[in-house]
Amino acid sequence: MLLLKLAFRNILLHKLKTSVIGAIIVIGTVLAVVGNSLVDAVSTGMQKSIVQSLAGHIQIYSSHAKEKLALFGDTGGNVTDIGHVRDFRRVKETLMREIPDIQSMIPMGTNFAFINPGNVLDSKLEEYRKNEKEKSATELVSTKEHIRNIILDIQEGLPRIAVMIAAEDDPTLKNSAENMKRATSETFWSQFEAKREESLEFLANRIAPLIFDDNQLFFSFVGTSPKRFSEAFSNFEIVKGEMIPDGRRGFLFSDYFYENTVKHRVARVFDEIQERLTKHHETIAAEKALQDKIKTNVASAAEVYSQIDPAASRIIVPKLKSFLKSESGDLRELVRFFLNVSDANFFERFNFFYAEIAPRIRLYKMGLGEVFPLSAFAKSGFSTAVNVKVYGTYHFKSFESSPIAGNFCLLDLISFRELYGFQSDDRVKESQSLEKEMGLVDFDRSGVDALFSKKDLTKPGVAAKSAKIAVPQSFGSFKEKQTSYQQVYSDSEMENGVFLNTAIFIKDVGKVSQVIAKINEVSKKEKLEIQAIDYNEAAGLVGQLSFVVRAILFVCVAIIFAVATFIIMNSMLMAALERTKEIGTMRAIGAQRRFILLLFLNEASVLSFIFSILGSAIAVLILFWLGRVGIPAGGDVATFFFSGPRLYPAVHWIHVFVVLLAMTFISIVSTQYPAWRAMRISPIEAMRSAK
């Protein structure tokens, strides 16, 4: 009682010491409690993201894998070499029979792919062939005129790219000056219809490569059963187009990739400016970055007007003229002027762009419903290609803007196996003949190495350049060939075959480690030659992030606690020295050393108790508030860690309890030395005169 009374009085009356210690305890408690809750929220958010966006609860893959499975890529963003497992059906049936906890299994395989959708000239040449087949004469004339205009554009830009052409060791780029002369000569165009095939081949092989517009798309994709995938990953959602019909081969773009890479560059700049003006309340006038983007857009005007064909141009020019109140009747000038937007006219032009211009250009390098040759590296290291139909785009709900969750495209497993190098015998023959006809050149090893070397694949430019050599140049002709993409496959065909890895969902999330142990046991017994790992491990680098975040928090909290220890010790030591006479007096009039020790410990405990309760209360209030309004994900990447656009941390009472204990503990520990010093104060100190 006396001790507590003294402790309280000392706390009340030594205001400076109390507020210093109080402040550090409150800060420490708030940070520790809030920090822990945030990290918990982030790590559960991340777990959810990982589980719900690709991993499932457990991943299995070959026990002979050369590298560890890393679903989101390794440090370099590359797909790791995990080998393959031969027979999905056997693995599935064995595991489902032996382990009733398993809910579903989705076979998968990840690979990198590239598509060259062809540049504007390629697509116009293709359109010309199509029109010719459909015998639409007027269209034919218009397309021919458009092709001629594009060639004039190329010629105009030739001096600018002369250096690049010289640097490029590409046979198709040799003699470009001469080739241009031929392509712009009157004789070439007067004989165009007569020497049709030769002329088209010439333009496709010699002139089209002169357009350097990085059209090559490079991305990772997951081969799977689209149906099972969409059912198991409950956040899966089709955004544009349609779902791949069950049993059909097909391809889905990740919507994030489709919007941020496949979309027309000029449109992307419009989108970005619009977002930054509306969401982030920036202005063009104040943001240098936005001004730069607009400058690039003006410089890329050709990518807009060269895509507008003469017929469309006759419609759009007058509209642009009146919209811009311009005197000029030249499309190029109008487009350049149009793209030079400012704060005053941005939204008006943004709307005009999507209403009038977008429908007349190729807004996406690859349209939905179109068929493309998808090239990838087989397990042998050589590139193969299959024709795939793009059905649509998808995303995971609440990860719409995350570049991690769902930043892979989806392909049916049958086509994946074909690309990977496993296919039925008739398919082998069929695709061999196809490749021959399409003029697909196999990669030589150096080309493959260049692509598989640890280059940063987020910069498609690097990869695209080396890949360019391998891309079929007679692009326009493949559609006429037999198209395997139309073939249907049966469920058993899908099940009877190779997979690289498989996502497993289990019924009781708490049993992950038990099921993993069981899978490994069954695999050994039944010689399935698989290994099982949990979602966190399967996520590779991304999975370790949650550990890293926690480690960072621990370090921060440790630092705060260390600072708190130091401050408390210091203040209490000061208190002991200041109160030397008082302590001496107590000792003289009969207080034992123990009493002085307890006096200090009591004071520290009461202090830490009061202020850590206060700190916890503040922390809990902050968390309640954050739990209601949520913390907005600052960037696109954050949505993955937050498992949605906002993070809603919750109060974990165990954290509060642990932090209270820890705080009391450190204040008692840090008072040991000051208390010991106080205890040693001699009663003689009481006798010393004040002087």
Partner: protein
């Protein structure tokens, strides 16, 4: 008087202080006895060893040689804990600079040693505290804290605190040194009055001649030796 009749007895006590490498002899062989009920002054010039002598008698310090016997106990043979206990139960202290506990009010300061004693009931504590606070004339300042009191009032609180445990002896090292002479005189009168009414033994040091005149017995110290007893 017989040797054992003295409540406090010193035999050939010396006390040396170590000051760096120099040894300062503060007491050079002091023998004296103090009986119960005495009202004795230790007088002597500055540096003569008055404080040193009181510290030894008050069991807050130990002698270099010789015997200090307090309440029939040889203090050299007691442990730290036992010495503290002896102080708590048999000795009252009054200090030159009052030494009240700054965060406690008058009542709590006076009650403090009773709480250390533990065994005393709440009712008795209250009664005794009030008795002595009244005795020193501070019944009107029960809830004041030391910094709200004058020097004389503070010393009165200290006297009440020293008396509340009903010690056999009260030691006071220059209790009036920090007070003006008039206030000092009233404090000495108060102590003398208590000596007469409560039969409490008082032993205090001073070099104030007016006060020395009031003493029944004067022990004179000079350079660490008793010159008159």
């Amino acid at each position: 008087m017989n040797k054992s009749d003295y409540f406090i007895q010193l035999n050939q006590v010396t006390k040396d202080y170590q000051l760096g490498k120099v040894i300062v002899p503060a007491l050079k062989g002091v023998s004296l006895g103090i009986g119960l009920g005495e009202f004795t002054v230790i007088a002597g010039p500055s540096g003569s060893g008055k404080t040193t002598l009181l510290n030894l008698i008050g069991c807050v310090d130990t002698a270099t040689s010789g015997q200090v016997i307090v309440a029939e106990k040889d203090t050299a043979r007691l442990t730290e804990v036992e010495l503290t206990d002896l102080r708590l139960h048999t000795i009252g202290f009054i200090f030159q600079s009052f030494n009240l506990i700054s965060v406690l009010n008058v009542v709590d300061n006076v009650e403090f040693p009773l709480l250390l004693q533990k065994k005393i009931s709440k009712a008795e504590r209250k009664e005794r505290v009030l008795h002595f606070v009244e005795k020193v004339g501070l019944q009107g300042h029960l809830n004041h804290r030391p910094n709200e009191l004058s020097g004389g009032q503070r010393q009165r609180v200290a006297i009440a605190r020293a008396l509340v445990t009903q010690p056999k002896i009260v030691l006071a090292d220059e209790p009036t040194a920090n007070l003006d002479s008039k206030t000092g005189q009233t404090i000495i009168d108060l102590m003398k009055h208590i000596n007469e009414t409560e039969k409490t033994t008082f032993l205090f040091s001073t070099h104030d001649h007016h006060i020395i005149q009031h003493a029944r017995r004067v022990i004179e110290l000079q350079d660490g030796l008793i010159t008159k007893s």
